[in-house]
């Protein structure tokens, strides 16, 4: 029973990460790609962490995985924010410069 649940989480996690990657490749400009990446991948990572902690069963490992997810969340939001600011600043300078 637990394994079936874990498998379900794992598959949905992989689906979201796959969706994020397709989004990054298909979407037109930087901002949409950032959306796709940060949103889908973080959710996918959460689902995979949940499935792993279900498979493992120990609470300590579940908390560790949660900490990993929080760190990944923090890192991806800040880097997405910086990339967005940087490309907007460059477009602004190219816009009036060009």
């Amino acid at each position: 029973m637990i394994d079936a649940l874990a498998l379900a989480f794992l598959l949905s996690g992989c689906f979201f990460i796959f969706a994020g990657t397709v989004g990054m490749l298909r979407l037109p400009d930087v901002y949409c790609r950032l959306h796709a990446l940060t949103k889908a991948d973080n959710l996918g990572l959460l689902l995979i962490c949940v499935s792993l902690s279900l498979l493992d069963g120990r609470v300590r490992i579940a908390l560790l995985l949660l900490l990993i997810w929080l760190l990944a969340l923090l890192a991806s939001t800040v880097s997405a924010h910086l990339i967005a600011r940087h490309s907007r600043a460059r477009q602004a300078s190219e816009g009036d410069g060009g």
Binding site: L71, L74, T77, V78, H81, L82, R85, H86, A89
Partner: protein
């Protein structure tokens, strides 16, 4: 069994694909970014092969710090002369391809024939496992690194010190490129630093403490601290300073000095050089090694002999 094989082949293909991008890719900056990805893929393969210490070290040092050092060096090239910084792409010539294939073939035959040698496990490895329990250590790799072959580690720390002193020969004269990027003064980034800094210190201490029994140790802990140092430099909380300070020099020398103490102290008591002095002495040496590794790698990133607090 075949499922595991498929996973291995997939991992291998990912690694070779990333390596191809690094070696043949047209643009230098992309090659560096792919090298960082290559380092992380390498860490996954170390984990797959059952070598967690190497996975930690390769992720922290191989991917993280080497990537950071290369990006800041690239940034300095662009600062000096943007057009020339990566002027030449790669000119793939058939001769180069031929030599590359030849080298790959040579290494493949060497590796595969070595695999077919009658595989008695190295008795050095067996002796390590046997002698491990009377050192009271759980992690055999820390046992090899600090007890059985501790002198290699001493010289390796000296190599790291030499790299820093050697880079001082160059950075004495060159104009400094301040590593902080304007966009990094944002409130969001400051909260990132406020959260990550204590966490990095905690993780480093944890890695140091469990190093004698589980995967971890001075190198991994030192590189995590160095990563935090790089973050502080990027966000301007720490700034490179040209006046070299005694405290910083002491931190640089501490690692090698502590290992020298491990070698010379037993001799004063009449025992043989580097006789094992118990777990406490290892922890003392590893703590100082962690400080030395973090300081020298952070200063190598900054390109200056010491650091000073930023104005924020």
């Amino acid at each position: 069994m075949s499922a595991q094989l498929i996973v291995d082949v997939l991992l291998g293909l990912i690694l070779v694909g990333l390596a191809a991008q690094v070696a043949i890719g047209q643009h230098l900056f992309r090659a560096i970014v792919f090298y960082v990805a290559f380092g992380l893929a390498m860490a996954v393969i170390w984990a797959r092969l059952g070598a967690p210490d190497l996975a930690l070290a390769d992720a922290a040092i191989g991917a993280g710090l080497t990537g950071a050092l290369m990006m800041v060096a690239f940034r300095r090239l662009v600062e000096i002369d943007p057009k020339q910084a990566q002027a030449q792409g790669t000119r793939s010539s058939t001769l180069a391809v031929l030599i590359g294939v030849l080298a790959a073939g040579m290494v493949a035959t060497i590796g595969l024939t070595a695999l077919t040698l009658e595989h008695q496990p190295g008795h050095a490895g067996l002796q390590v496992m046997a002698a491990l329990d009377d050192t009271g250590l759980g992690n055999p790799i820390t046992g090899v690194l600090l007890v059985f072959r501790g002198f290699d580690t001493l010289i390796e720390m000296t190599v790291l010190l030499t790299a820093f002193v050697g880079s001082r020969v160059m950075t004495n004269r060159s104009r400094l490129y301040v590593a902080t990027i304007a966009g990094f003064q944002l409130p969001l980034v400051r909260t990132l630093v406020a959260v990550i800094l204590p966490l990095a210190a905690l993780i480093a201490m944890h890695l140091l403490w469990i190093g004698s029994d589980q995967p971890g140790g001075a190198f991994q802990a030192g590189s995590v601290l160095a990563g935090a140092g790089v973050l502080l430099l990027l966000t301007g909380t720490l700034l490179p300073a040209s006046k070299s300070r005694a405290l910083v020099r002491l931190a640089l020398v501490a690692g090698v000095a502590s290992l020298c103490a491990l070698v010379l102290a037993p001799m004063l008591r009449g025992e043989v050089a580097m006789a094992y002095l118990g777990r406490g002495s290892l922890l003392f040496a590893e703590a100082l090694m962690m400080v030395s590794i973090a300081t020298s790698l952070t200063l190598l990133f900054a390109g200056r002999p010491s650091l000073k607090l930023g104005r924020s």
